[in-house]
């Protein structure tokens, strides 16, 4: 009789130990999984995200001379001017927030809403906008890609 209870006790004890061990390991795994996923860097961009244009965006840039690219929540107009330089300005017109476009034939940035015109540095040429367009730095990479780095100040 006592053998039975002590045997039962032993199995119960080892079962509890097993339960504790197994659940602890499982829990630790559930904690480590997000950490490990977190640590692996993403393929496309660096920590802050100098944004790299996708292949479709590059193709559109070639075809239309400009493309609108999302950059950490904002929209940036990337254009290719007559001298094949790549420039980038904020795509949101400073008047009422419409999206501007690049008119290659007139070498100007134009907002269709109220006929505002900006030069390629974002300065207002005519129309109602009160402020120039913020500029971004765009660099060509060796592999042909284009990188948009953070915002630049107007007088740089």
């Amino acid at each position: 009789m006592s053998n039975n209870t002590s045997a039962q006790k032993k199995t119960r004890r080892s079962f509890l130990d097993f339960l504790l061990g197994a659940s602890s390991v499982a829990w630790l795994a559930s904690v480590l999984y997000p950490v490990i996923r977190y640590l692996k860097p993403l393929p496309r961009a660096g920590a802050v995200g100098p944004t790299r244009l996708t292949r479709e965006e590059l193709a559109k840039l070639e075809k239309d001379h400009f493309v609108i690219v999302p950059v950490s929540g904002k929209r940036v107009l990337v254009l290719r001017n007559a001298a094949q330089e790549v420039l980038a300005v904020d795509a949101k017109c400073t008047h009422e927030g419409c999206t501007v476009q690049y008119l290659a034939a007139e070498s100007a940035i134009w907002c269709a809403c109220h006929n505002a015109r900006f030069d390629l540095d974002g300065r207002v040429l005519s129309g109602p906008p009160p402020r120039p367009l913020p500029k971004y730095a765009a660099e060509r990479q060796e592999d042909g890609g284009i990188l948009i780095v953070a915002e630049r100040r107007q007088n740089e």
Partner: protein, 514 residues
């Protein structure tokens, strides 16, 4: 040694005194000093501490001019001096002021009557508005050295009381027939050689334009005393440039200046349009409530148009029939060019309708609403078409299509916008959704603009990206929601595991202690 150092010491003292003496400011002559120290009623000095400070801060040249004015008894009263100092003028203006005997005399309360005294505030209720001294010294002519004599004639350096006006200034009947004002101002302002000496950028064609305008014809041909002349809009003594917020022609004040006559039914009584109907006087009220008026007056958007942007300044006239879309099209270029390429242009011309104004109004242009397209009470298309274009029933279908397409996109934009915010509050990444929402907004704007082409094909081309965006946003939202559910699932799983660990730990504890 001792005597040597004594001599050096004395030389140093003398040198210091000499330097100190050289630095002494110019002495104030007794008469000026007397005015500065004068006391008024109750023993308080007439010249206030601020005015005293201002006086002390003036340079020697200006102080010398003040001295002069006091000595030659042009300034004899302390309150006269006080009003001059209270202006706080910069040295450049002060120099003009103090060398101009006209101004000095006409600001002296002792010798002037209320009808001829320039003062800072109204001396009495009968003091006319054009005698405000602040306005006078702010005047753009005064600043350039063209003070009283420049218009009224005479010699500012002379202290004799003679008024010899320029020949354009008629001796009698000045108030009755105001046509003389035009040639009076134009003797300088239409002379480009003269204007080049002051501001080469200013135009000199104002008189020619004015003569062609209804205002000009009213004054010069009909000789109507109500007609405006230069002074009516620009003022007389306080003329300021259009960029000065105090100017009567500053963009935010133009509507008041024009409205002073055009919104007053008494002033406008009997004046008619070319077609014989009376000129309305409700434009100002309509403008204030319009989208342009509110942009300018409530939001302060200086890019918004006011009266002169559409009607012109000196050649102000009703916007000509064929040129309405030209004038609106200065800003709304896209819509205007679409309209001009559409079949509506010829139709409107045939009916002699003012293109943009026919649907949008003239002065009371309200924010456009999508309901203007539908078949409801605000619908514009169907009303006209039922009357004038019964033989084009396909247009009704187009209008309905425009309306459906746009309202669907608009509802999607609003609804998705709210959803995106809610998702962001939950900590989800809504960047892709926001980007697509921007694309949808762009397409919506372009679609609304392309209504002016009145062509289904053109409209479809710009509406299509919007519809695609709507699909993308839908699926992106579903993905985000799925991501959130996944997070919740992960949480539940973690809690379950933690619970399990806690349970086994508790049991172990009980076993160890029990």
């Amino acid at each position: 040694m001792k005597t040597f150092s004594l001599i050096v010491y004395q030389l140093v003292c003398i040198a210091a005194l000499a330097i100190a003496a050289a630095d002494q400011p110019a002495a104030i002559a007794p008469k000026l000093a007397g005015l500065l120290a004068a006391q008024g009623k109750e023993g308080k000095p007439v010249i206030s501490p601020e005015q005293r400070d201002y006086f002390e801060g003036l340079n020697d040249h200006i102080k010398g001019l003040l001295n002069n004015a006091a000595e030659t008894e042009i300034i004899t009263r302390p309150d006269h001096l006080s009003s001059i100092l209270a202006l706080g003028l910069r040295p450049q203006k002060m120099e003009v002021f103090l060398q101009d005997n006209c101004v000095l005399c006409h600001t002296d309360p002792e010798v002037q009557k209320p009808e001829t005294l320039f003062s800072i505030t109204a001396v009495s209720n009968t003091s006319p508005a054009h005698l405000n001294l602040h306005d006078l010294v702010d005047d753009v002519h005064f600043r350039r050295g063209l003070s009283c004599a420049g218009c009224h004639g005479g010699d500012p350096a002379s202290d004799k009381l003679e008024h010899s006006f320029v020949k354009e200034w008629p001796g009698t009947g000045r108030d009755k027939n105001r046509g003389w004002v035009l040639s009076f101002c134009a003797r300088c302002h239409s002379d480009s050689t003269l204007m080049n000496q002051f501001n080469p950028a200013l135009p000199t064609d104002q008189l020619a334009k004015y003569k062609n305008s209804p205002h000009g014809k009213l004054l010069l041909e009909t000789k109507d005393p109500r007609a405006p002349d230069c002074v009516s809009c620009h003022g007389v003594h306080g003329i300021r440039g259009a960029k000065n917020p105090l100017s009567k022609i500053y963009p935010k004040r133009v509507h008041e200046t024009c409205g002073a006559c055009h919104a007053n039914p008494a002033t406008m009584a009997g004046l008619t349009l070319p077609d014989g109907s009376l000129i309305p006087t409700n434009q100002l009220a309509e403008y204030r409530a319009s989208v342009h008026g509110r942009a300018l007056l409530e939001r302060g958007d200086l890019g918004a148009p006011t009266c002169n942007n559409c009607h012109g300044n000196h050649a102000a006239m009703p916007v000509g029939l064929s040129s309405v879309s030209q004038s609106c099209g200065l800003c709304h270029a896209g819509n205007a060019s679409l309209f001009d390429g559409s079949k509506h242009k010829q139709a409107f011309e045939a009916h002699k309708w003012p293109q943009c104004g026919q649907c949008h109004g003239h002065h009371g242009i309200a924010k456009t609403r999508d309901s203007m397209l539908a078949a409801g009470p605000e619908a514009l298309c169907t009303k006209c078409h039922q009357q004038y274009a019964k033989d084009h029933p396909e247009c009704n279908a187009s209008a309905a299509y425009f309306h459906t397409s746009i309202t669907q996109m608009d509802q999607a934009w609003n609804g998705f916008g709210v959803t995106a915010e809610q998702l962001a509050m939950k900590g989800l990444d809504v960047d892709a959704i926001q980007d697509k929402l921007n694309e949808l907004a762009d397409s919506l704007k372009q679609s609304r603009s392309h209504i002016h082409s009145f062509s289904k094909n053109g409209f479809e081309r710009v509406a299509l990206p919007g519809e695609k965006a709507v699909q993308s946003i839908s699926s992106l939202i579903q993905e985000a929601k799925a991501e959130y559910r996944l997070r919740q699932l992960g949480l539940v799983a973690s809690i379950a595991l933690i619970g399990l660990v806690m349970l086994s730990l508790y049991l172990k504890l009980r076993r160890l202690e029990g």
